[in-house]
Structures are given as C-alpha cells and as structure tokens.
C-alpha cells in the first residue's frame, strides 16, 4: 500500500493488505447483521411487552423475524456484492498500474 510504484503481487505487503481489506469488508457486513440477529432475542428478553405489540395482526417480534428479516439479508448481501466487486476491480487496477510503471 505504501509502495508508490504500486504493489508487487508476490510481496508479503500485497497479501496482507489484500486479506485485511477483504476481511474488513466481510466483518463489517457480518457485524451489522449480527447486531440484528443477536439483538432480537435480547429485545425479546428485555422488552417482552413492547415486542408483543400487535401490528397488522402480527406481534411486533413475529413481524420482524417472520417477514422483515429477509429484506435485511438482501440489503446486506447486495451492499457486500457491490463493495466486493469494486474492491476487486480496485486491486486489479493497482496491480496493473504497478506492472506498467516497472516496465
């Protein structure tokens, strides 16, 4: 990353930055999702009355888990796919730049 010439594919530096950037993206997406996934049982535990409020005939917690969770999964998957495609393109561009400079 600190290499002004663009990275060498086989360097330690390149591999580290590659894995770090990918893992950071995956962990960020997973983390956001885990807050919802692990937070819902906790909300059920701490605020049972609120979660049992009726919305369109559903209880609030049933509506969240049985219906609204799926769009959330789609949203996070979509964001991840956009970002990771951009990230890969970025990495390829960097390597190409490095190659042409060295030549």
């Amino acid at each position: 990353m600190g290499n002004p010439q663009g990275p060498d594919v086989h360097s330690e530096e390149f591999l580290r930055s590659l894995m770090r950037r990918q893992l950071r993206l995956s962990v960020a997406c997973a983390g956001t999702f885990m807050i919802a996934l692990l937070g819902l049982p906790l909300a059920n535990f701490l605020f049972p009355d609120l979660m049992a409020t009726r919305v369109f005939g559903f209880t609030l917690t049933w509506l969240i888990l049985g219906v609204l969770f799926f769009p959330l999964v789609w949203l996070i998957a979509w964001l991840f796919i956009q970002r990771s495609i951009a990230l890969e393109d970025d990495e390829v561009a960097e390597v190409e730049r490095g190659k042409s400079r060295r030549e």
């Binding site: 594919v9 086989h10 330690e12 591999l15 590659l18 894995m19 990918q22 893992l23 995956s26 997406c29 997973a30 999702f33 996934l37 692990l38 049982p41 906790l42 059920n44 535990f45 049972p48 979660m51 049992a52 009726r54 919305v55 369109f56 005939g57 559903f58 209880t59 917690t61 049933w62 888990l65 049985g66 219906v67 969770f69 799926f70 769009p71 999964v73 789609w74 996070i76 998957a77 979509w78 991840f80 796919i81 990771s84 495609i85 890969e88 393109d89 990495e91 390829v92 390597v95």
Partner: protein, 581 residues
C-alpha cells in the same frame, strides 16, 4: 380409507417428470466432468434457481410449517437462519473457495494442506453428516406417502422412496443436473405459494390468522381487523374462526411469544421458576442461531455450484439471486403453521407421520368443505412439492455420498489399481449400501420432527466444517493437524451431545431423571453449537501453534490464490508451481 385421486395424480406426475427429466438430460451430459466443465457456462438465472432447488429440502418445505404449528414463534428462527447462513457463506467462504478451485470439502482439505490423509478424514465426515441429513428427508418421504395412501405404515413409505431413488442413482439417472434442480425450485415455489394465497383469500390473511391466536375458539362472525385496516382485506371473512385446540397443543401465549415450548422444554422439565426458565431459553435460542447460521455456511453440497458460473462476478450475482429466491420461499411455510393451528388443530393429537409435520400436505384439503375438489387439487400440488423437496435433496446427498464411498473409499483406499469396470460396479454397490443405511436410519426416526433433525445435522456441520473452512481461508498459520483436531474434536463432541438427547427422546436411553436434574446440560447437549464452535476454533489455533513447523511451505501462494482477484490469473501460476514439485 380411500386414496384421493387428485393427490395421487399430481404426486405421480412429479415423480415421473423428475425421473424423466433426469434421464433425458443425463443422456445429454455423459460424465461427471461434463457436468462441471459444461456447467461453467450456466447462466445466472438458471444457476440461481438450481442452487435454490437443491437447497430447499423436506425441512424447508414441510418441516418449517410443522414446527411453527407445533412450537410457534421460536420455530421462526429456522427459516430465518437457513437464509442468514447463506449470507455468511457469501461473506466469508464462497469467494476464497471459488478462487481456490476446490469442488468439494475433501478437495479443499487436500489442496489447502497438501495432505491425502486429511482428505480421507474429510471424506468420512462427508458420509457422516450426509447420513444425518438424509434422516429428515426420509421422514418427509414416509410422512407424505402415509398421507397419500392412508393406512400405509410409515416405514413402508420410507423403504419405497428410498428404493426408487437408490435405483435411480445407481443406474445414473440423477447427476445434479441444472435443469432438474431449477425445475424443482419453481415447482416447490409454486406448490407452497399458490395454496397459501387461496387459503388466505378464503380464511383471512397472515396477520388476521395470527390475530385469531388468543381469541376464543369458534368466535362467531367476522374478525375485528384491529389495526389491519391498511391491509385492505374484506373484513367479512365469515370463516375466520378457529377450532378448539386439543389438550396436547401448547397454550396461546406460549405459542405466540418468544421462549415458547421449543426452547423452554428442558427448564420446564426441571421445574425451574419463570425467570430462570426465560434465561435458559435465551441461551437455547443463541445456541440454535449459531448452529443454524454456521451449519448452513458449512454445508458441503451447496458449495459445488459456485463453480458453475463463468466468473467471480457472476458467482456473486448468482448468490444474490439465490438469497432472494430462498428468502421469498421462506415467507410461506410459517403461514401454513399459523393457519393450521386455527383450522386443523386435530394434528396436535397425532404422533409421528400423523402429526404436525404433514400440515402442508393436509391443510389445503379443508377447502373441499366449501369448494368441492379445489382442496384436493391444492393438496395434490403441495404433495407434488413435497416430493420435489425430498427427492431433490435425497438424490443430491445420495450422489455425493455414493461418490465419496466409491471414488475415495474404494478407488483410493481399498483398491487403487481398480479398472474402470470395477469402479462402475463399486459405484452401484455403494449406492445400494448408502441407500440401505439411509432407509434403516430413516425408518427409526418417525417420532422426531423433520426440522429438528435438520437442525441437529447443521449443529454437527457448524462445529466441524464451518471452523475448517473459515479458519483455513483466513488464517495462514493453520496446519493439517490443527485443522483435523478442531474438526474432529468439535464435530464428535457435537455428535455425542446430540446423540444423547435424541436417543433419550426415542427412549433408547433412560436419561430423563438426569436431564431434569441438570437442565443446562440438557440444553448444551441438545443445542451444542454455542460451545462446540468456539471449542473447535480454539483447538485449531492451539494445535496449529504447537505444530507450527508443518505449515505448508507455499502458504503465501496458497493464500494469494484464495484471496487475489481471479483476473490476476494467479491460479494458473499455482497449478504450474504444483506440477513442478
């Protein structure tokens, strides 16, 4: 007892269409390698449908509805986590494995650690988890046949379906062909959604049906659409009433709210107070979530299809579509459970194949009371969907287990010098062996719920495959011994816990007194993922550190292949390097 002709016709048509499509396309693509190579050009839409078709098993089609009906809210975690697990597969595992070019877990295990020994260990595990996963499919088959042919014993249905599919696999009719799998997805989607829409139009929508919960049985007249005005449904649904629940059904409050009968069973058996029961129940819920999410992310038979895309971008697009297709599907099964509780509570009194697991099949039949044969036709359609569900998953598992047995166990371990003809015969014999074991196991589990059994298979996968794949892809310090120790340690401990609880539920072991004295032990054995997954990862780290000297020499190149964009073409370099050795 008579057989409904509509139900028989639709189910029969599905079976024949599936078998015929299988043979027709098997003739066009001759070998397994044809499948992989030609498959690389499968379009995103077809491939996404095919993956979803393979993914939605009897557990999704029948089990989720049955469990929502019997256990209420807590059962909703299953469909949600089946879909979420796919997200985790996408985030952490799919990309690296695709770039690495390993088709199966044994391939990955061997390639990542350069170890044929580890491959053998992985193969044994594939067989093992596969058998666990066939049991619920067999229960689905037995339940469906017992419904179509009233009076047919459960085990006979299991044996019949097992025999047909085994024969089909043995003579090569099923090779996980895209066309068949895609067809089955759309059949399942059609079969689960159309009856739901008709039932909701007649008996009131999802929210209205849920709202009936807590109301007295057979409440006369229209239901009050309290807060449901926005749904724009006619409120004059005269039949929006519910039947009286039998004594075996869980009470309304326990069923509707979190921490219901599913997660509080152990604490209730121990006679704990309400606050403590809730705390144990929360623990159970978390362990269930970990098992289902990590288990899905570690499911081997899903991974193969990531390679049937032309490139990494198409693979990611496919995954997005898979998530949409399975997410939409999972909205429907719980509706069957909710309506079933109101309109067909008789099933609570049934056991085994006559219990709530058959709600999806039987519920549309109630429409016959008002619309003549409409109910029979819709019930026939859901039966057809059920056939598609257990046939696709069972065939897929049969192919992968038979392949592992014939190719790895026979071809590599028992008789490495075997001829082509010997291997072909070994494949057929293996199919019969695997099929027989599956039928024997399947006929023993009538009393266990379909969905529960799948959850157990996932708990084992969560403690073995998931740590293996996750750690191998992201940590370069991993050694073969570390990986094997973690996978075996986690997997076998999860298996032990699960076997103890299942055997005691089937009354083979008398542990009831112990469980009621130790509710925490019961929960951690029934849902072991909460401790086995971290344990497996810890074992991997500790043993890998101890055997640090055995990290593969070309680890940097391996990690590069796992993570560098495919466009850089490092895979080619890696293959050349490896052939040079």
């Amino acid at each position: 007892m008579r057989v409904d002709p509509y139900i028989l016709t639709f189910s029969g048509l599905t079976v024949f269409a599936t078998l015929w499509l299988g043979f027709w396309s098997a003739r066009k693509s001759k070998t397994a390698s044809d499948f992989f190579v030609a498959g690389r050009s499968v379009s995103v839409g077809w491939n996404a449908s095919a993956i979803s078709g393979e993914y939605l098993s009897a557990a999704s089609f029948m089990g989720v509805a049955g469990m929502v009906m019997s256990s209420g809210y807590d059962a909703l975690w299953y469909p949600v986590c089946y879909a979420c697990g796919y997200l985790f597969l996408l985030l952490f595992i799919a990309g690296p494995l695709r770039r690495f070019g390993a088709y199966t877990i044994p391939d990955f295990a061997e390639g990542r650690f350069d170890s044929p020994v580890f491959r053998k260990i992985a193969v044994v595990f594939v067989l093992f988890i596969g058998l666990f996963y066939t049991m619920p499919q067999m229960k689905g088959a037995g339940t469906t046949l017992a419904y179509i042919f009233p009076g047919l014993p459960y085990w006979a249905g299991v044996a019949l379906v097992g025999a047909v599919i085994t024969l089909n696999v043995a003579i090569g009719g099923m090779k996980g062909i895209t066309l068949v799998q895609a067809f089955q997805y759309w059949l399942k989607m059609f079969a689960i959604s159309v009856p739901v829409f008709v039932l909701m139009a007649v008996h009131g929508n999802y929210g209205q049906q849920l709202h009936l919960n807590g109301k007295p049985a057979l409440a006369a007249g229209a239901i009050v659409s309290n807060g449901g005005a926005a749904t724009n449904q006619p409120t004059s649904v005269a039949s929006s009433e519910r039947k009286a629940l039998p004594a075996k059904a869980p009470g309304d409050t326990a069923w509707l709210n979190p921490f219901g009968p599913l997660t509080t069973k152990a604490a209730k058996a121990a006679g704990l107070g309400p606050m403590e029961t809730r705390r144990y129940s929360l623990l159970y819920t978390y362990s269930l979530i970990v098992a289902l999410v990590c288990g899905t992310a570690g499911l081997p038979h899903i991974l193969v299809r990531f390679y049937t895309n032309p490139n990494g971008v198409a693979a990611k697009r496919t995954t997005m579509w898979v998530m949409i297709l399975i997410g939409v599907f999972y909205l429907f099964p719980p509706v069957f459970g909710v309506i079933g509780r109101n309109l067909l509570p008789e099933l609570y009194a049934g056991v085994g194949a006559k219990g709530t697991d058959k709600i999806v099949l039987e519920l549309p039949h109630i429409l016959n009371e008002r619309f003549g044969t409409l109910g029979s036709i819709l019930s026939g359609i859901t039966c057809a969907g059920a056939f598609a569900a257990f046939m696709s998953t069972f065939s897929g598992l049969m192919v992968s287990m038979t392949g592992a047995l014939a190719h790895d166990v026979y071809g590599r371990m028992i008789n490495p010098q075997s001829s082509q003809a010997q291997r072909l015969r070994a494949f057929k014999i293996s199919a019969v062996i695997v099929g027989t074991i599956a039928v024997i196991l399947g006929s023993q589990v009538e009393l266990l719920q379909i969905n529960f059994m799948v959850g157990q298979a996932f708990a084992i996968a969560a403690a073995s495959y998931f740590p293996l794949l996750f750690m191998s892809a992201w940590w370069r310090g991993m050694t073969m011994k570390g990986a094997a120790a973690g996978m075996l340690g986690g997997g076998l401990l999860a298996l032990t816990g699960i076997s103890l609880t299942s055997f005691s539920d089937l009354k083979w072991l008398k542990l009831d007194a112990f469980w009621s004295a130790h509710p925490l032990a019961r929960i951690l054995c029934e849902q072991p993922a909460l401790w086995t997954v971290p344990l497996a990862i810890t074992l991997m780290i500790v043993v890998s550190k101890l055997t640090r000297g055995e990290i593969p020499a070309d680890i940097r190149l391996k990690m590069l292949v796992l993570h560098a964009p495919e466009k850089l073409g490092l895979k080619q370099e890696y293959i050349q390097e490896h052939q040079g050795h």
